[in-house]
Symmetry: C2
């Protein structure tokens, strides 16, 4: 729940009410779920451009004002609705770096194949170019969650001896961070570009060829940096 508005923390508060939690009628968790479900459904049917707040409210059987009490606007709402889908991403240990990469590529591709993520992800990223707060939310809700998989896969490969271990010292740590960032942009970028811009399917055959390319690059990279 990254994009939720926090009304009461900014409002008046008395003493230990903060410890006990806010007083008064609590927000309906059921309404939350209904709204996010309705948002995803609307994304599938209408796409980003034609999705309206009023439509989502009607689908969720909730007053339009309730939506605005929780989310600042379309951007934040859609981001939250889509972000939870990224919780599904995992990195099962398939025994080799090659299989791990192929697995995460296909998993990410399956997520991007869903119409709600397709249309929503690019749109919120586009909006984030003129909205710094939105960009920060995307970072923690989507980007960091994916990057963790890269870190994890890299550690496993190092334990298996498929990749050289990190050296000691701050400089080696910085180099490792740069390496993770680079690999992350290459994997996520290639998959997104293939799926959404080129419009070609990210199937097992493509994943295999991409992984072969990336693996060769990683092994060739070992000597330097």
């Amino acid at each position: 729940m990254v994009g939720r508005m926090q009304c009461s923390p900014t409002g008046p508060r008395k003493g230990r009410a903060r410890l006990t939690g806010r007083t008064g009628r609590p927000r309906s968790a059921a309404a939350d779920a209904a709204i996010l479900d309705a948002t995803r459904a609307a994304l599938v049917e209408l796409g980003w451009g034609k999705l309206t707040m009023g439509d989502v409210a009607a689908r969720a059987k909730v007053a339009k004002t309730t939506l605005y009490r929780r989310w600042a606007g379309k951007n934040e709402l859609v981001l939250d609705a889509v972000a939870v889908l990224f919780d599904e991403l995992e990195l099962p240990d398939r025994g080799s770096l090659k299989d791990d990469i192929e697995g995460v590529v296909l998993q990410f591709a399956a997520l991007l194949a869903r119409p709600e993520t397709k249309t929503a992800l690019m749109a919120v990223v586009a909006e984030s170019t003129t909205d710094d707060a939105l960009r920060a939310r995307i970072r923690e809700a989507v980007v960091e969650r994916q990057k963790r998989l890269v870190v994890q896969g890299r550690q496993r490969a190092q334990q298996r001896g498929e990749l050289p271990p990190d050296g000691g010292g701050p400089e080696a740590a910085a180099a490792a961070a740069r390496s993770v960032d680079l690999i992350f942009d290459v994997i996520a970028g290639a998959v997104v570009h293939r799926a959404l811009v080129s419009g070609e399917p990210v199937d097992a055959a493509w994943a295999a060829r991409f992984t072969t390319l990336l693996l060769a690059g990683l092994r060739g990279l070992e000597s330097r940096d």
Copy 2:
């Protein structure tokens, strides 16, 4: 001019008027340029989300109806306004595959650093997920134009002997096409992801590390496929 509406070809026509060209008052080319300039300016100031047709018309000092006579809507207009920027992309021969790749990466990054392309490209791609006609326009106006650079760079590298030449026969041609597609998605995807999603600068240092990774991958790929 990919997204232009073509009114008269669908209208009535008499005999040889078709050869001479359409009769009647011609469309103002100056208005075209003013509209596209105004669209880019509006993208910079407002971003995709807050850009409106009425605003563009006012900036271009043109009637709003004129806009709708030429473009079906915001999507098509913005795509045309941004597409011309991709004409700048070239692939000067820098003597080696490594330098050629770094050059095209930095060139593409410079294009993406401009606020009008930043906010517009992702947005139209997002809309294209629910609009097949728009996707086709993006293909020919943007994607194919970039892919040509990959084909060109690959041919040069083969002539230099940096990459093995294509074999004969239809199967080898198909493999070459797949290879170009893969490389294109990796390059364009990584740059876009780095610049717009990760939000980190695509500078010379990053371009160098990315190119090193990709080159190692390409050389490692030579043996198979």
